[in-house]
Amino acid sequence: MPTRPHLNLGSHLLSGLVAVALFAVLATVFLTASFGAPQGFGGAQVTPSIGYAMFDLSGGEIPSDSFLAAFEIIDLVLLAALAAAVMLARREADGKLIGIESIRTDGGRPRDTTSASDTDVETEPNAAADGDGDREGAN
């Protein structure tokens, strides 16, 4: 049992190379691009301006769009996410799921694989006799 972090190298890191490649491409593009000097905010107060912009109030010193509608929508989204998280996570007292029994996350295959193989064995007695032990091991 390792007692300290252990660097797990292996072939699973291979796909990470794609991320590195992406970085290489992005870095090349960014470094060869040229931008003008930044305008900056000229010493104006940033945080109060954000508050004004978010609630469509006048008084912000820095130009900005108005975000009241977006703010309300985000409100609703958070609420929905909360409800969804609760729904997904909830459990009844006896351990059964509520409300999502009908959601199948198994690709439509029989949920209980052991019972399915049992019926197979029943319909094919010869096969069962030949490779019973293998089947048990596979299942």
Binding site: V18, A33, G107
Partner: protein
């Protein structure tokens, strides 16, 4: 006033064809609820067509013509359009009258032949007749080759339906299939010809300055004028000289004509087609299906006149067919078989006439033949009714006293067929032979056609009178012949009408008399002289002379006329000498092996079946292999590849989120790199 009535007549002209179509629909869907199984609708419709056709003919006689598009199917801006249109000129007006008259009389006769005999499937029968009349009438007034082809094929379909009317028996369905397949074989060439004419001229119009005969003529004139890129420069002749190419086109269309008009070697379907009801035979032989081929050549005669090779072949094939078929008719026992071979023979004469430059003569014979052959078939139908559907002439005999109306009508038709003065067939056949002779004196191929046509006259006279004598004269040879079934008015009326026509219709174009007396009594000639420019007799004669190089020897028509009459009388006299007794012998037995050969139709069927089996099966097997391996192989291969690649490619979908993320990132990197490289971000 006159102008408006003319315009109105042409306005309603499509109804000539539409009326039988309506009777087809009525008979098909309501026939079993109507009295007579829809016959009355058919009679009314064809009667209406006849009246309208007469009106059109009168209008055309007043000098008016009509050449209009009425319904456009497909229009492409720069190449060509497919449309239905009306071409009403003296030729089509004449043919409309013939077709609608014969069709009307056949409907009438069918009352006696089908209804009174208690046949089943009458609505189907009358629907077939209606569709048949519709197709033929529409074919006749078609203003372009495409429309002609469409209705040509419809005519073939209707013949299949009607020949196979008694489909529960063994022979009729087989005969119907044979008729359909053999004519279809010719129609393949016709179809290729239509497409080739489209490709060459960009139009298939028959008449007008933009029509393909006119364009072809201009092209030839341009080429003949020494200008390399003259008139022919506008037309693509696919690397051939314009003259050669037009001959090829003519031959392609001629394939359909030979199939439909039962010319050698595609004549074998026609005798078998006798399995159909006799009125249908009358309709097929006199006015509709078989006539369609000859009519087509006459319709585009301006085109054929440009090609002396095609004309000579037409003439030679026609002459050969005339003799060939007439020889087979000599030994037949079945009255309808004799008539069938006589039809082939007579259409051979028409082809000979057309090929020999006798446009008027051929149209004249087409008309007289329509009447006397319809008469003969309806007469044969009357005999068959009387004989309780026995058709063997050796079981008949002595019907003259029992069936006087039928006898005299049939006799008139027979005299016309044999070409005995002054019945219709004499004038028309004689004129054809005269044209063949005067042009043939300068052309050995035409002369050969003429000689064969001349020989065929003897045979025609012989088999015609053998038929008449065996059927009507002598002592009755069976019980049925002693007690024939009586005939109703619906049988007799058409016979009388056609009998009168067969007797007198020849008088409209008495060329020998006109030549001898100097009177202007060649009414048909005059009739075909006016009309749309480029579709007149004068124009055809001029083209024949200038382009095809036909020259007529100056010869009095009297001598050839006397010669052919003498030959016809010789044939008839031979038949009289052999079969006129009260109980004639089976003289054809004496022919021995020749009789066997003739009875077996020169083994034409056998060799065609052999060809079909040897080559057809081989080609079919090859096609099958092509279909199975290449066509199906390509289709199966595509599906196989899709299945296989789908099966492989789906392995990308591992279901592991990390892999998807990797792929997404990889895609983003590639996209950034490519966009960046293209946009110069890395400079």
């Amino acid at each position: 006033m006159a102008a408006t009535s003319t315009a109105f007549a042409f306005e309603v002209a499509p109804a000539i064809a539409i009326l039988p179509l309506a009777s087809f629909v009525i008979a098909l869907f309501a026939g079993k609820y109507l009295p007579k199984g829809g016959a009355l609708a058919g009679i009314a419709a064809t009667g209406g067509s006849l009246l309208l056709s007469l009106w059109i003919a009168l209008t055309v006689a007043g000098g008016a013509t009509y050449n209009e598009e009425i319904y456009s199917l497909v229009t492409t801006p720069n190449s060509f359009d497919l449309h239905f249109g009306l071409l009403l000129d003296p030729l089509s007006a004449l043919m409309l009258v013939i077709v609608s008259l014969v069709s009307f009389l056949v409907h009438l006769f069918s009352l006696g032949y089908m209804n009174d005999e208690g046949e089943r499937g009458l609505p189907r029968y009358y629907a077939g007749l209606g569709l048949f009349s519709f197709s033929m009438l529409a074919f006749v007034f078609a203003d372009n080759l495409f429309m002609s082809f469409v209705f040509f094929e419809l005519v073939g379909l209707c013949s299949w339906l009607l020949i196979g009317h008694w489909y529960r028996e063994e022979a009729p369905p087989s005969a119907a299939k044979k008729a359909f397949l053999v004519t279809r074989f010719g129609d393949y060439f016709f179809l290729v010809g239509v497409v080739a004419i489209f490709a060459t001229f960009g139009t298939t119009l028959f008449a007008g300055p933009e029509s393909f005969p006119t364009l072809a003529e201009e092209a030839l004139a341009g080429a003949g004028g020494g200008e390399a890129g003259g008139g022919a420069g506008e037309l693509s002749t696919f690397g051939f000289g314009p003259g050669t190419w037009f001959t090829v086109l003519g031959f392609l269309v001629l394939g359909g004509v030979i199939g439909k008009s039962a010319q050698f070697p595609l004549h074998t379907w026609l005798p078998d087609a006798m399995e159909g009801p006799t009125p249908v035979s009358a309709l097929i032989h006199a006015a509709t299906m078989v006539a369609a081929g000859v009519y087509l050549v006459a319709r585009m005669y301006g085109f054929y006149a440009l090609s002396p090779t095609a004309l000579a072949v037409i003439a030679f094939v026609g002459g050969f067919t005339a003799l060939f078929a007439a020889s087979m008719a000599v030994v037949k026992r079945d009255i309808k078989q004799v008539l069938a071979y006589s039809t082939i023979s007579q259409y051979g004469y028409m082809m000979l006439g057309l090929g020999a430059g006798g446009y008027v003569a051929a149209v004249f014979h087409l008309m007289t033949h329509a009447f006397f052959k319809a008469l003969l078939f309806l007469g044969a139908g009357a005999v068959i009714i009387a004989m309780h559907h026995r058709q063997d002439m050796w079981e008949m005999g002595g019907l003259k006293e029992k069936l006087p109306v039928t006898y005299y009508a049939f006799l008139a038709g027979s005299l016309a067929l044999a070409g005995i003065f002054p019945f219709a067939g004499f004038w028309s056949k004689d004129e054809i032979l005269y044209e063949a002779l005067i042009h043939g004196l300068n052309d050995p191929l035409l002369l050969g056609g003429y000689l064969m046509g001349l020989t065929a006259i003897v045979f025609t006279g012989f088999y015609t009178f053998r038929m008449v004598l065996l059927t009507f004269h002598g002592e009755p040879r069976t019980h049925t012949a002693r007690n024939p079934h009586s005939l109703g008015w619906s049988v007799k009326v058409p016979l009388v009408v056609l009998g009168v026509l067969a007797t007198v219709i020849g008088l409209i174009n008495m060329t020998p008399v006109a030549e001898a007396t100097g009177l202007h009594i060649e009414y048909l000639h005059t009739w075909l002289e006016h009309g749309i420019p480029g579709l007149t007799v004068e124009h055809y004669d001029e083209v024949l002379e200038t382009v095809a190089g036909y020259s007529a020897a100056s010869l009095s028509p009297l001598l050839p006329a006397v010669l052919s009459l003498a030959l016809a009388l010789a044939g008839a006299g031979l038949a009289w000498a052999l079969y006129s007794g009260p109980d004639p012998d089976h003289h054809t037995e004496r022919l021995g092996d020749i009789r066997t050969l003739l009875m077996n139709n020169y083994y034409q069927d056998e060799y065609q079946v052999w060809i079909a089996e040897t080559f057809g099966t081989g080609v079919a097997r090859l096609s099958d292999r092509f279909d199975q391996s290449i066509v199906d192989g390509a289709v199966n291969g595509i599906s196989e590849v899709s299945l296989l690649s789908g099966d492989r490619i789906r392995r990308i979908q591992t279901g592991i989120v990390s892999n998807y993320a990797t792929l997404l990132t990889l895609g983003l990197v590639v996209l950034l790199l490519s966009v960046g490289l293209a946009g110069g971000w890395f400079l």
